[in-house]
Each structure stands twice: as structure tokens, then as C-alpha cells.
Amino acid sequence: MSAPLHLALDWADWLNLFGHFLLMSLMSVGGAISTSSEMHRFLVEQHHWLTQEQFNQSIALAQAAPGPNVLFVALMGWHVGMNAGSTAAALFGVLVTMVGIMTPSTIITYTAARWGHRNRDLRAVRAFKQGMAPIVIALLLSTAWIMASSAGAGAAAAAGAPIASAVLANWPLWLTAIVSGLIIWRTRIHLLWLLAAGAVLGALGLI
């Protein structure tokens, strides 16, 4: 477990956060989740505004709750604000990150939807859509990798083990991630069952 963060954020920091999420909105072809590895780099590694646990929790809670997955962004804003010291800051964080992640993509989609619909057979439209597919896949797999390996690294560090052996030390966690991925890939089982199973295994201390 990493230590709790106590941040002193000024307006330049909030603006920086807002600007980054505006940028992520523009990048979020394939959904906001495909930009989450970049959010991790920015929030956790570069600025230390979020702990690794908070990052993982934001995604896990948003997946477990009803609604669009993009709400994980609101939780990241919430946690940044809480790290800055107050519920008011947390609500402000939600506002900053959600307005940031929604605004550019919303405007672009609204104005471009009809154009895209009318010109769907255009060579450039098809080239963009089909050319971006391998990138979207790479981004999703990167997010999965970062989530699994960082959860493992966190647990290994807590146990005093070197990070390098995290994968071996946390084989049950990796096994859970891989098995649940294969089940979701190959079956139509409701996600809630798998999340519940993961929660139970985790609560019992098995992974």
C-alpha cells in the first residue's frame, strides 16, 4: 500500500488537470478507457496526484456500478480532490475531470455525426476507422497489463518483495485476471458474477 497523499493544488494545477482531460477526450477514440494508461502516466507517475490504489479503485468501482464506464474519470477527479483535502475539492475534481473528458468529444461527435453518416463510404472515413483498430486494441491490452501488474506490484511491495518478482509472487492475481478475461472473451456470462467472484476471492485474502 502506498501512503496517503496530501496535496496542495493551486489553480495552475487544476487547469493542468483540466487541460489534460480535454486532451484525453480528443484522444478517446474507442472509449475513455483506452486513454486510461495515459491517465495513469499523468496522474500517478508524473504528478503523484493519485495513488496506485486510488487509480485501480476508480476503474474497479466504476465497472462494478451501473452506468457508462467513463464514470471512472469522475472517481479519479474525486480522489484527486480528496487528496487535496476536502469534499468540496473532491466535487470540484469531479467537475473538472468530467467536463474535461466530455466536452471536446461531445462537440466533435455532435457536429460530425451527420457528416460521418453521409460520407461513410468515403475512402478517408474507412481508412481512419479501420486503420485505428490495431491501436485501440493495443491501448486496451496496455491498460489490462498496467492494472494487473500494478496491483501485483503494490501487494508485493507491501510484502517486502522486490517488484521484479511481483508477477511470480502474485500468481493468483494474474491467474484471476487471465481466467476472467478468457471467460468474458469466450462466454456471455454477466459481468457482475465475475466481479462478485473477484470480490469474494479478494475479501477472503486468496488473491
Partner: protein, 200 residues
């Protein structure tokens, strides 16, 4: 996408060929709220059933068309689709009503969950449960990537090129921690140009 154009309704016409349409902004808001609340782990699977099969706001063909556009636009696909449906019937007000419906109540719920979680964060049981759920989510996101990968077979690019680009992107982001704009504009731009040339 590949349907004959004659079967497609005009994108610009205010009226839709489907039987029903949202009655009001409130109808849009409530419908998308209910839709969002049914969608655990993402709303994607629920949308088609509710909007096409039950409410009949879109025909199957219209849905496929809109979904394709929603996917090439930045932003979450479901959010993009709600904007397009709301906007078609009630303009910007409709787009905003649908978007607000999709986000408002789920946002309050998810923040409530986060507050509850923070209160019990010191409990090893809660921490363990979240830890386990994070592992499942990692698998979930990975599975979404693998599921999309089957679409690469239909790419104008050879499958080997697609896989090479995917692998390069994965290494750049997961291991080399390369900033996303570089990957999107560099590698993504390259992929689009290669695809464009193959489409000739």
C-alpha cells in the same frame, strides 16, 4: 456499413423510419437514465435491446449505421450514440437531455460508492475485495481488446501488419510509458495511411 444504400434512411431527415420516437426531452432523460442503471460493467450490451427492440426509436439498420459513427468519434460509444439519438429528434437540447440522463444518476451512485469505500478502506476485507475486483477488471479490459482483435481480419491491411502495429503500440504504452498523443498520431497516423493506400 455494407447494407445497400437504398435500405438506409436519410441521415438528415428529421423523421425516422422506425415506428416510435422519444416524446419529449423528459422522455429522453428518463429513458437513458433507466438504460444506464441496467448496465453494469458498461452500458454497451443494454443499448441495442432497449433502444431498438423495446422502444423502437431506431431500426436495426439505423442502429448499425449510428453505431459505426459512434465508434469512429472520440468519446465513449454509448455517450456518442445518446448524443446522436437525442440530437436527431430535439437538436442540441435533445442531445444534452440524453447525455444528462445517461450520466447524472449513475454519477451520484458511483460517488456514493466511493464515499462508502473510503469509510471502510482500512478494512482488509474491503481492500481485498477491491483488489480482487481490480484483477477481474484487468481481465475484462483485456478481453475487450481480444474481442476487437477478431475484427482485424476484415482490415484492408494484412493481418500480420495489424498484429505488428498492435504489438508495437502495446510495447510503447505498457513498457516504454510513451505518451498517448505520440502513439495515436505517430503509430495511428501510420496505420491510417497504410490502410488508406490499401483501400485504393
Amino acid at each position: 456499413m455494407n447494407a445497400p444504400p437504398s435500405s438506409l434512411p436519410s441521415a438528415t431527415s428529421a423523421t425516422s423510419e422506425s415506428a416510435n420516437r422519444p416524446r419529449s426531452l423528459a422522455d429522453l432523460f428518463i429513458s437513458f437514465t433507466l438504460l444506464a442503471l441496467q448496465g453494469f460493467g458498461g452500458v454497451l450490451a443494454i443499448v441495442q435491446r432497449e433502444i431498438v427492440d423495446r422502444k423502437r426509436w431506431l431500426t436495426q439498420e439505423e442502429f448499425i449505421e449510428d453505431w459505426a459513427v459512434a465508434q469512429i468519434m472520440p468519446g465513449p460509444n454509448v455517450v456518442n450514440l445518446s448524443l446522436m439519438i437525442g440530437g436527431r429528434h430535439f437538436g442540441i437540447a435533445g442531445a444534452l437531455a440524453a447525455l444528462a440522463g445517461l450520466l447524472t444518476v449513475p454519477l451520484i451512485l458511483v460517488i456514493g460508492l466511493a464515499v462508502l469505500h473510503d469509510r471502510f478502506a482500512d478494512s482488509p476485507v474491503v481492500a481485498g475485495a477491491l483488489h480482487g475486483m481490480a484483477a477481474v477488471c484487468a481481465g475484462l479490459i483485456g478481453a475487450a481488446g481480444l474481442r476487437l482483435a477478431s475484427a482485424l481480419k476484415k482490415s484492408p491491411m494484412p493481418l500480420s501488419w495489424c498484429l505488428a502495429i498492435s504489438a508495437a503500440g502495446f510495447i510503447l504504452v505498457a513498457f516504454l510509458k510513451c505518451p498517448l498523443p505520440w502513439v495515436l498520431f505517430g503509430l495511428g497516423g501510420l496505420a491510417c495511411v497504410l490502410t488508406w493506400r490499401r483501400l485504393a
